[in-house]
């Protein structure tokens, strides 16, 4: 005996399935943020911490100051660079991993995952060892007499992008690999047998079918890169300005919590905008992928 509206029944089931996660998020993520949203509208009076009031001044301060907008721009730029680099570098490895025989795959998996168990702090120091003034690259170049004085590579935006890409790559690779795995190799073989060049097979067969992985991986990496604190702080120093570092300073050194909160929410809004915009653009053209409730 079926209810007259299977759509409604499925909606209820879907809602119930999502309920535990939604409740947990609501209580332990949304509620804490609400406290800080309130803070972002307080008036900041140095020396008088109990000042409240209501003002949009904190947001205005951020949006009208070229310095802070510049920091936001640099943050997004670095995030984009890291995402692109991870995609370009990650896809070949993910494809290789997905198509490997299991004996090799175990070894490669170990290689890819092992850096993840080393704390981000330690990996940042590793880059100091490699890119620092007294590091491997500089020592090698001086030993070969290519340069006289060390080349400054650490504490630049490039160092931050390199370090963040190294952190992000394993995630991108694993996500892509688990999706590519589900692509039937027979499709690629068929295309090749019909005379298609490898590049064409990739572009027209593999890439479209792995799009969910590309989207998921890109979103995660972009968010990771723009929201990262420890790695950019250690590899970029004070001269590479990231918005999260600014928020940290406001919250833990300057104690201008109203402004710190406002900055954080501006970052949150912009990132979510980028993320949903990107997801919508991609998934809009392939709407049936997200599932129509079949």
């Amino acid at each position: 005996m079926r209810p007259t509206n299977p759509g409604a029944r499925r909606a209820v089931t879907g809602g119930l399935l999502a309920l535990p996660a939604a409740c947990a998020l609501g209580l332990f993520c949304a509620a804490p943020l609400l406290y800080l949203v309130r803070y972002s509208f307080f008036v900041y009076v140095p020396g008088d911490p109990l000042a409240t009031g209501f003002t949009l001044g904190n947001y205005v301060k951020f949006l009208s100051d070229r310095y802070y907008l510049g920091v936001l721009g640099q943050t997004l730029g670095i995030g984009l660079a890291v995402t692109l680099a991870s995609l370009v570098l990650g896809f070949p490895v993910a494809y290789g991993l997905a198509r490997m025989r299991s004996r090799w795959r175990a070894i490669c998996l170990v290689l890819i995952i092992s850096p993840l168990y080393v704390s981000a702090v330690v990996r940042a120091y590793g880059w100091l060892v490699i890119l620092g003034d007294a590091g491997v690259v500089n020592n090698l170049l001086r030993w070969l007499h290519v340069i006289e004085r060390p080349v400054r590579m650490m504490f630049t935006p490039l160092a931050v992008v390199i370090a963040l890409t190294e952190v992000a790559l394993p995630f991108m690779i694993l996500i892509l690999a688990s999706v590519i795995q589900n692509i039937d190799p027979a499709l690629e073989d068929a295309a090749a047998n019909l005379g298609a060049r490898p590049w064409w097979v990739f572009w027209k067969v593999v890439l479209p079918l792995s799009l969910p992985g590309v989207v998921a991986g890109s979103l995660l990496v972009f968010i990771l890169a723009t929201g990262s604190y420890v790695t950019p702080a250690l590899t970029g120093g004070k001269s590479v300005k990231m918005l999260v570092t600014e928020v940290y300073q406001q919250m833990t050194a300057i104690y201008n919590w109203p402004f710190g909160a406002a900055t954080a929410f501006i970052l949150l809004a912009v990132t979510l905008l980028c993320v949903t915009g990107f997801a919508a653009a991609v998934e809009g053209s392939t709407r049936e992928r997200l599932g129509d409730g079949r």
Partner: protein, 264 residues
């Protein structure tokens, strides 16, 4: 063409491992800073690291919290991912966006907000002391793990062909049976990846753990950060090498025992 592909792959692997490899080399160097060519091999930092209590105390806590938080995140995230991909309900798109919130928000903000929630709401209204406790810390970690789990499972579900599930249902199988016998096995690679990501996200988390710290015990990344701020020796490099060796051993054993590699 194939050789080019392999060569490119090798270069990328080298890039991924470079920072870690040099940390490992540094752990054996007799002097605290890196010299090239290396000066020699010494185990002095290993001895020092083994004797430094806080490393080991905190590692135990980190492992327990990471395991617990990953499990809870999987339990919450799997139904949510299923709901988002296979069902349609009001607020679905909003939920998908909000699910990312814990890792989009700077951890300092989430940490401060959680502390305010714990002390102002939980203590004064519910009379439950949560701040400065392990459960309080773990809740924060579950929030950090959840977005990873959900995104990976969504991608996995989207990539899995629903035709098999449909066929089973058309043949009369009940939804729960379809889930157990068909969907979950199809999802195995994604489930393993989600579990790994969640564990790593929790085990390596620094910023949130700093704010939600428990008096008397710290998590390993916090201890490492504090050590690196104050002491200038490669003991941490030695510790990291041991960690890599340990997790490699675990993965190899898991592969031999359970055929882990076939899952991904």
């Amino acid at each position: 063409m194939k050789r080019l592909f392999v060569a490119v792959n090798i270069l990328i692997y080298a890039f991924i491992l470079s920072a870690v490899v040099f940390v490992m080399i540094l752990s054996f160097s007799p002097s605290p800073i890196f010299r090239f060519p290396p000066e020699g091999v010494s185990l002095v930092w290993y001895r020092k690291m083994l004797g430094y209590g806080p490393f080991w105390d905190s590692m135990g806590l980190s492992l327990v919290i990471a395991a617990g938080a990953s499990l809870v995140a999987m339990a919450l995230g799997l139904p949510a991912a299923l709901a988002v991909v296979r069902y349609r309900f009001p607020g679905r798109d909003l939920l998908v966006a909000v699910l990312m919130a814990p890792i989009v928000v700077p951890a300092i903000i989430l940490g401060v907000g959680l502390l305010m929630l714990y002390t102002q709401f939980f203590v004064h209204t519910l009379h439950v002391a949560v701040n400065g406790t392990v459960p309080g810390l773990m809740i924060g970690h579950v929030m950090v793990c959840l977005p990873w789990v959900v995104r990976v499972l969504i991608a996995g579900l989207q990539g899995a062909d629903p035709a098999v599930e449909e066929a089973a249902m058309n043949l009369g199988a009940r939804p729960l049976a379809v889930l157990w016998h068909i969907t979950l096995p199809l999802l195995q690679p994604a489930l393993v990846a989600a579990g790994i990501f969640a564990f790593i996200a929790s085990f390596g988390n620094v910023e949130l753990s700093l704010m939600l710290s428990v008096p008397g015990t710290s998590t390993l990344p916090v201890v490492i950060l504090t050590y690196l701020d104050n002491y200038n020796d490669p003991s941490v490099a030695a510790l990291s090498t041991v960690l890599i060796a340990g997790t490699t051993a675990v993965i190899v054993i898991a592969d031999r025992g359970f055929g882990l590699a076939k899952l991904i």
